[in-house]
Amino acid sequence: MILVIGIGNPDRGDDAAGLAVATRVRKATSPREVTVRELVGDQLALIDEWTGATAVYVVDAVCSGGTPGTVYEFDAADTLTEHFRHRGTHTFSLADVIELARALGRLPRHLAGFGIEGASFNIGDGLSPQAEAAVEEVTGLLLGELKAGV
């Protein structure tokens, strides 16, 4: 199974960037080829979400002080960069969850993904123009990878 997971909070501005990518990927792919899920909140649930999947792509908003709209890539075969280490409002960052899964032997065979630097995370806001552009960019990159891999 090839799985795409968008992470975020739909009510908190650019935090929804990962969810927006998931929505676009769902529209552009067939559910027979690619499973798409949205994860709101608890990143530890990722470990259960990706159980049984062979290739997993995760897209999340990032808040690392970079230029809003910047796109970061990761591959879990390597240690994640600091952009993915911010704990946010939870105790576990995406990088932590990946390390926990690695320790438990629960990493999928291939795990990669993207982070989108957000501009604002205010309650009730929509996506910023910078995040909107980055969502389009990441969707294109992800569809390209899926096409190459499928």
Binding site: I7, G8, N9, D11, R12, D15, V40, G41, D42, Q43, L44, A45, I47, D48, A61, V62, C63, S64, G65, H86, R87, G88, T89, H90, T91, F92, D96, E99, L100, A103, L104, G105, G118, F121, N122, I123
Partner: protein, 457 residues
């Protein structure tokens, strides 16, 4: 500072605490060989949400306040529902209340499993993180994640979504799950009950520092049940009041060294949370859970905060047991929610969040507009008790090697599972308020050097 000799002057400082929800720091000041002050830097006055709630409709607080915390959204929803229903003079029928209690059990399981396994246990076993614990003991951490997942599934089945349940409304639920849907959870919850029993056996083997405090415990108390959603507010100091009397006895106020509001009970420091619930309600636990607690080495009260991991494990076991009971006896509420008509009044609601009592108060007009809101989260209430823990714990241990003492002080904070996750975005508002004149403390530097909180709620 010389290691191994009693330090005369100095600081024990942790600018950014690990394994707590959100960001906070601690600082202990030592002068002339005495601990002269201990500060837990938490920035959690929920003013932002209170302001956001004013002018909104009386039906909105369950959804809006659930977003304050990604770990305990059900607590916010329940306290909000209780307060709004109180204002409107409505008490939902028993089937609605039983379903609420079931949903709340899911949150207790989820939150306690996370804290016991990934946040607190590493302290007792000498690991810097849950990830390091998992490397050496994958089976144990997997058991914790399996427990957490059982709680998530329960929350999703009743609440509609495991984080920020969307099925809760003032008066009840949008839709009641079918008995069949809930019965499907039973095998997982039976496994969870076994896992919880094993958890208690496991944490009972830990070594605990000899340390007791003379707490005034505060929790809810119900005539028959262990308190989760309903009851009066009682304390070990003799308090026994209805939720509507909360503001007559509890006072929140600003302290100079922190942006967080502190809270006192008739001027006294008090503690809410698992230790308080357990110590004030041991007689409300089912007999077989009492037996399990005794077998794990607990008495009928517990005043050693380091042993709170034992109490959480008991509550974990109780929540699994209670969820199974509620599912076995489940009668779908029909209709799933009762009508709640607004009237001009104030309403008061409390419930027992995993980390302690959560109070909401709303004033609404006859057309249902909210004109005033007040929310007092458990972590705000516990700050003074946590700081007092730090003073009492560090004072006789100033001979200890600095690094170890720092680590144990950090652990002393984690004992209470503080939740700072709803904090940082309040900070700006606080500064705008101009109430921050003397705040040059390091937590501001800490935050200035960091990007704003990424809210994955």
């Amino acid at each position: 500072m010389t290691h191994g000799s009693r330090r005369a002057n100095g600081h024990i400082s942790v600018p950014a605490l690990a394994r707590v929800e959100g960001e906070g720091g601690l600082e202990i000041v030592v002068s002339d060989g005495q601990v002269t002050g201990a500060r837990l830097d938490i920035y959690e006055p929920p003013r932002f949400f209170e302001a956001l709630l004013r002018g909104r409709q009386y039906t909105e607080p369950p959804d809006i306040t659930a977003r304050i915390c990604g770990i305990c959204p059900v607590a916010y929803q329940m306290s909000a529902c209780h307060a709004i229903e109180d204002a409107c003079g409505v008490t939902p029928p028993e089937p609605v209340r039983a379903l609420r209690r079931l949903l709340y059990c899911g949150e207790w399981i989820e939150s306690h499993a996370l804290h016991v396994y990934l946040l607190h246990a590493p302290d007792f076993l000498g690991y810097p993180s849950g990830i390091d614990l998992a490397r050496d003991h994958p089976d144990i951490v997997s058991r914790g994640l399996r427990l957490k997942k059982a709680g998530n599934h329960l929350m999703a089945a009743v609440g509609g979504r495991s984080i920020h349940p969307v099925n809760v409304k003032v008066g009840g639920f949008y839709r009641a799950p079918t008995p069949r849907e809930l019965a499907q959870l039973t095998p997982d919850l039976e496994q969870a009950r076994q896992d919880a029993a094993d958890t208690l056996t496991w944490v009972a083997t830990f070594d605990f520092p000899e340390f007791e405090r003379d707490y005034e415990f505060v929790s809810m108390r119900h005539p028959r049940q262990y308190p989760i959603t309903e009851g009066r507010i009682v304390s070990s100091g003799g308090l026994d009041i209805a939720p509507k009397e909360y503001d007559d006895h509890f006072t929140e106020f600003q302290v100079e060294h922190s942006t967080a509001l502190h809270s006192t009970l008739d001027g006294r420091t008090y503690l809410t949370g698992p230790l308080a619930r357990y110590s004030l309600n041991f007689d409300r636990l089912p007999a077989h859970i009492q037996d399990e607690a005794r077998a794990a080495g607990l008495g009928e009260t517990c005043a050693n905060p380091f042993r709170s991991i034992l109490v959480r494990a008991v509550e974990l076991l109780f929540a699994c047991d209670e969820a199974l009971r509620l599912i076995a006896e489940y009668q779908p509420p029909d209709p799933p929610a009762v009508d709640v008509t607004p009237q001009q009044a104030s309403g008061y609601g409390v419930s027992e969040a995993p980390r302690g009592m959560l109070y909401h108060r709303y004033t609404i007009t006859g057309d249902g507009t909210i004109t005033d809101a007040k929310i007092v989260p458990p972590t705000s209430q516990n700050q003074r008790a946590i700081e007092a823990d730090l003073v009492d714990f560090a004072s006789p241990r100033l001979d200890m090697e600095h690094e170890r003492l720092t680590a144990e002080c950090e652990q002393a904070i984690r004992n209470h599972d503080p939740c700072i996750s709803c904090a940082t975005h309040f900070l700006d508002l606080w500064l705008i308020d101009g109430a921050d004149g003397n705040h040059d403390h390091h937590h501001h530097d800490h935050h200035a050097a960091h990007p704003p909180e990424l809210p994955h709620n």
